[in-house]
């Protein structure tokens, strides 16, 4: 009995610590100026909810256009990443192309420090006029995700038995047909998981978005970061924006429970 009590006390405590800060975003987003910094604990939760923050955010700031930029960059970036890494992962998984060395090289680019890439790309992009464009940001995001996506997909491809493909080829299917009609449908879940991870990485990315975009392609994270600093921190606006922006990631986390660990460990832990 005591053990059970101990178990639930710890569990609930951990959950409160984990959930409270996230809940704080959603509480603050609906608070008016008067409640924002109230010290009374009752007013943490019981306050007069208002949509004021959202109204100001949508009216006075480029929130929707910036969110749209984030969406465009992450969706297009993910599609391109998936196309390239699908092909590469298939090649690695079926023929062990390069005897593992190329695959290792590919994965090790994930360790590549962004700060190293920032300056050269900045100068390069400036020269080509790619600064503050969706295209430029997409290119960078594809590069940063392609190794990860390739490796994750490689793991999923390995789970498709070679015999299935061989059987299909004996039946007269060409290599392309085998890929399209046999393998592709079989790795459906892998495809979904990998895409969601790329999507979320791109959705959350800040460093490059901050350096490389200003107006036209400014992503929503950069807008949110601009509420910090200056004379006053606009917490109401910040949390209102954050409440909308993190919603997809929270939903993804909830529905991908089974796959999060697998994705984050590059497929090493099945979770």
């Amino acid at each position: 009995m005591l053990k059970k009590l101990f178990f639930w006390v710890i569990t609930v405590l951990v959950l409160v610590i984990i959930v409270a800060p996230l809940a704080w975003i959603y509480l603050t987003a609906f608070k008016g100026q008067a409640d924002l910094f109230a010290a009374d604990l009752r007013r943490f939760v019981f306050f007069k909810p208002t949509l004021e923050n959202f109204v100001v955010l949508f009216r006075d700031y480029d929130f929707w256009p910036n969110l749209l930029n984030t969406l465009i960059v992450s969706v297009v970036g993910t599609l391109v990443t998936m196309a390239c890494s699908l092909m590469a992962a298939y090649s690695f998984a079926r023929w062990n192309t390069g005897g593992g060395d190329i695959l290792f090289m590919t994965v090790s680019t994930r360790m590549f420090p962004m700060a190293v890439a920032a300056v050269p790309h900045f100068v390069f992009f400036k020269m080509l006029g790619l600064l503050d464009t969706h295209f430029g940001l997409i290119l960078l995001y594809v590069f940063f995700n392609i190794s990860f996506a390739t490796f994750l997909l490689y793991g999923f491809f390995n789970e498709v038995p070679k015999e299935v493909e061989q059987a299909a080829m004996i039946d007269g299917y060409g290599r392309m047909e085998v890929f399209r009609k046999i393998v592709f449908p079989l790795i459906g879940p892998g495809l979904a998981v990998t895409s969601v991870f790329c999507l979320i990485w791109m959705w959350n990315e800040f460093f490059f978005a901050f350096l490389f975009t200003r107006d036209d392609a400014r992503t929503v994270n950069v807008l949110l970061s601009s509420f910090w600093g200056g004379l006053q921190v606009q917490y109401g606006l910040m949390t209102a924006g954050a409440a909308i922006t993190i919603l997809p990631t929270l939903v993804a986390a909830w529905f991908m429970q089974r796959y999060i660990i697998r994705g984050l460990t590059f497929g090493a832990v099945k979770g």
């Binding site: 092909m87 590469a88 680019t109 360790m111 962004m114 392609i146 909830w254 090493a268």
Partner: protein, 311 residues
């Protein structure tokens, strides 16, 4: 190659008679595997080799984005060795690395052991715990800055309400630990659930046998559970080191490198993009790249072996 092959007869002859188009060559059984790699290799070459070579080049020059770079030899690197700010940033990064990984492993293992059973609502517990993992670190840093504020942060309101003194978490002596705390908060579920996955996959009969033999729980844990979890602990250490060395976003919404919290990537960023000292910034970037590689490559090879398909 084709001209040397013997003339074919039968239905294939017609197809082989003409020279294969580029598309046919690329998709032939022999070259298809390489064709599939072209986009990947091209992208990696452009986006990795180019900045690397570029950075190495400029690390030997003095350049401020305007005018011509002047060659200064090893000057930038010599300056780096004696640059107290850089060395401190380096040390802090290592501190963050050790603190975060130790706490995440320790607490994570504790929680994993606690949750390694079937209980009611375990899916809800898992779902809620995993929520922070995918949220943008930048947004979390802005949020923490608000919650932990000395004057109007929610944490201090709570502390005051229950009669405790207010905490100033952003004073220079402890701000770095606050940053660690923020990071640990976000990543604790990661180590917890990796280890939990490990615990769930352990063979039950071994533990049964140990229990029958009268082994104490501590003995079982030390001699059976821990060794069997070692590969997973390795994975956590490798991946977390990789990400922690690159810590940037959590600083942005909070201290911005002030109050003794400047880390490796932040000082590199500041040197290049705030002070526009490209040459010196490149030298920092190269050093930080080399350190990351040295630190991760060995561990990574190990990791790759584990991830290789078990057939």
């Amino acid at each position: 190659m084709l001209s040397n092959s013997p003339p074919l007869t039968g239905p294939l002859a017609e197809r082989e008679a003409r020279k294969p188009t580029i598309w046919e060559t690329l998709t032939s059984e022999r070259y298809f595997r390489w064709t599939l790699l072209i986009p990947l290799l091209v992208l990696l070459a452009i986006f990795m080799l180019y900045p690397l070579i570029y950075s190495i080049y400029f690390s030997f020059h003095d350049w401020g984005m305007q005018g011509d770079p002047t060659f200064t030899g090893l000057h930038n690197y010599r300056q780096l060795v004696f640059d107290e700010n850089f060395l401190m940033a380096f040390r802090r990064t290592l501190e963050v690395l050790v603190i975060c990984i130790v706490v995440e492993l320790g607490v994570g293992l504790g929680l994993a052991l606690l949750w390694n059973r079937d209980f009611r609502g375990q899916n809800v517990v898992r779902g809620l715990s995993l929520l922070p993992l995918l949220v943008a670190p930048l947004i979390l840093s802005l949020l923490w800055n608000f919650i932990l504020d000395f004057n109007f942060g929610a944490l201090n309101h709570v502390l005051q309400a229950i009669g405790l003194p207010k905490l100033n978490l952003w004073k220079p002596s402890i701000a770095l630990f606050t940053i660690c705390g923020m990071t640990i908060w976000q990543w604790l579920p990661f180590s917890t659930f990796v280890l939990l996955a490990g615990l769930k996959s352990l063979p039950r009969d071994v533990f049964e046998a140990a229990r029958v033999d009268g082994a104490s729980r501590w003995y079982t844990f030390r001699r059976l559970t821990l060794p069997m979890l070692t590969p997973l602990i390795m994975i956590i250490v490798v991946l977390r080191s990789m990400w922690l060395i690159r810590l940037f976003d959590p600083l942005f919404g909070t201290t911005r490198g002030g109050v003794n919290t400047e880390l490796l990537d932040w000082i590199t960023y500041r040197t290049s993009f705030v002070m526009f000292d490209i040459g010196y910034g490149s030298a920092m970037a190269i050093v930080s790249w080399a350190v990351t590689m040295a630190l991760c490559l060995v561990m990574f090879r190990q990791l790759m072996k584990q991830m290789a398909p078990r057939t």
